[in-house]
């Protein structure tokens, strides 16, 4: 997350500049406790530093231990940012998809084929998440579609706060479609709502049919599974029906489409799925 906001993850970079920007350009709408944090502590090279305000104040007579009930969800802050993103996207009629998968499932190639199928029909934009490099955003921009890269540094997932900042910088067109390509990771992105309409999980047939049971949280969080690289099925041992049954065991509502970015199989059905929900 952003060092300006005191959110701790100082290695995040949103393309164009490191995320150590001045407050002058910081237009993200923060809720009150979050703004408060700007004053109270800041991140430095050595970690978070407190003691700038009430947190370190020593009030006489308050030194006895006492219990405080707080009952707060630890994803609450992320969820609040996700709600802000969702409201912004809804106000502009933008439909957002969060693409999640392991590294190497063919997400970016599939996304480029998807863009080719939709270009000219609907305004498109892409947010790319990776730990390092802007290779993926460059590949997307080569198609003519606006794209912005978020580098999470050591972070293993995108969170709603990073996406909020990316939305500020991206040239979004109203009533368009936004693809958010998450960091390749079949575990952590499942827990972090970004404000999307749907999570779509991409699983390639080279990864093995047991992945939905091995990484159930991701398949439970997704509304659609794209079973990708099906053009390779003749050459490998992969049981499609078993894979679908496993996914449905974890999530009875999950839809499945078999796709190949190479042969084009399933692309029409996937585009129809998108446009029907837009």
């Amino acid at each position: 997350m952003c060092t300006v906001c005191g959110c701790g993850e100082g290695e995040v970079k949103i393309e164009g500049n490191a995320h150590h920007h001045g407050h002058g350009g910081h237009q993200h709408a923060h809720n009150p406790p979050h703004e408060h944090a700007h004053v109270q502590y800041r991140a430095t090279g050595n970690g978070l530093h407190f003691g700038l305000g009430a947190a370190h104040a020593h009030a006489p007579g308050l030194s006895q231990s006492r219990m405080v009930q707080i009952e707060q969800d630890i994803l609450g802050k992320n969820n609040a940012y996700a709600a802000q993103n969702r409201a912004l996207l809804a106000a502009r009629g933008i439909f957002a998809i969060n693409l999640v998968s392991s590294p190497g499932s063919g997400k970016t190639t599939l996304l480029i084929r998807t863009i080719e199928g939709l270009q000219g029909k609907i305004p498109l934009a892409v947010i790319e998440g990776d730990q390092q490099t802007s290779f993926d955003a460059e590949r997307i921009r080569a198609t003519g579609v606006p794209a912005i890269q978020i580098n999470t540094g050591k972070g293993c997932h995108l969170d709603a706060h990073m996406v909020g900042h990316a939305l500020e910088k991206l040239n979004l067109v109203d009533h368009g479609l936004l693809f958010i390509e998450n960091v390749g990771n079949l575990v952590c992105p499942a827990s972090f709502d970004l404000g999307e309409a749907h999570k779509v999980v991409i699983l390639s047939v080279t990864e093995g049919e047991d992945k939905p049971l091995k990484y159930p949280d991701m398949f439970a969080a997704a509304d659609l599974m794209l079973l990708n690289k099906v053009d390779l099925l003749p050459y490998i041992s992969f049981d499609v029906q078993k894979c679908i049954a496993y996914a449905q065991r974890v999530n009875s509502r999950i839809r499945v489409i078999l796709t190949s970015a190479t042969s084009g199989e399933g692309m029409d059905e996937w585009l129809e799925w998108l446009l029907a929900r837009k």
Binding site: M1, C7, G8, E9, P33, H36, A37, Q40, Y41, N46, G47, L48, H49, F50, G53, A54, A55, H56, A57, H58, A59, L62, S63, Q64, S65, R66, M67, V68, Q69, I70, E71, Q72, D73, I74, L75, G76, K77, N78, G155, C156, H157, D159, V187, C188, A190, S191, F192, P212, L213, P216, D217, A220, Y246, Q248, R249, V250, N251, S252
Partner: protein, 113 residues
């Protein structure tokens, strides 16, 4: 390793509450983690110790309240205990059991001074 982000989220909640509640030190944190929340308890403890260093919660004890996974069977309509998200119903073998509990990640209570 999203436990690190979660631990940072915990520290922010504790910080916000400390400002509003007027306390300067946190000695114990009771954290509720559901069995189906996708959180590794040992990793969570490790990350909590790391992110609270040099903070008002440095050295605080992290007490985990584990809540069991719970679901509703689509076949026998019973509410059953679930060890894993994809387990069939322990009563009748029906599946998929709809998860109704055990996904919590919540700070319940703090001991402060």
């Amino acid at each position: 390793m999203h436990e690190m982000s979660l631990a940072e989220g915990m520290l922010q909640i504790i910080e916000d509450n400390a400002r509003n509640g007027g306390y300067g030190r946190v000695k114990t944190v009771w954290l509720e983690i559901g069995q189906l929340a996708g959180v590794e308890v040992e990793a969570m403890k490790f990350c909590f110790d790391a992110v609270t260093r040099d903070s008002l919660a440095e050295g605080a004890r992290l007490e985990i309240i584990a809540t069991e996974g719970e679901g509703r069977c689509p076949a026998c309509h019973k509410t059953v205990r679930l060890a894993e998200r994809y387990d069939p119903c322990p009563a009748c073998g029906g599946c998929p059991v709809e998860v109704t509990g055990g996904t919590e990640m919540r700070i319940r209570e703090l001991e402060v001074e």
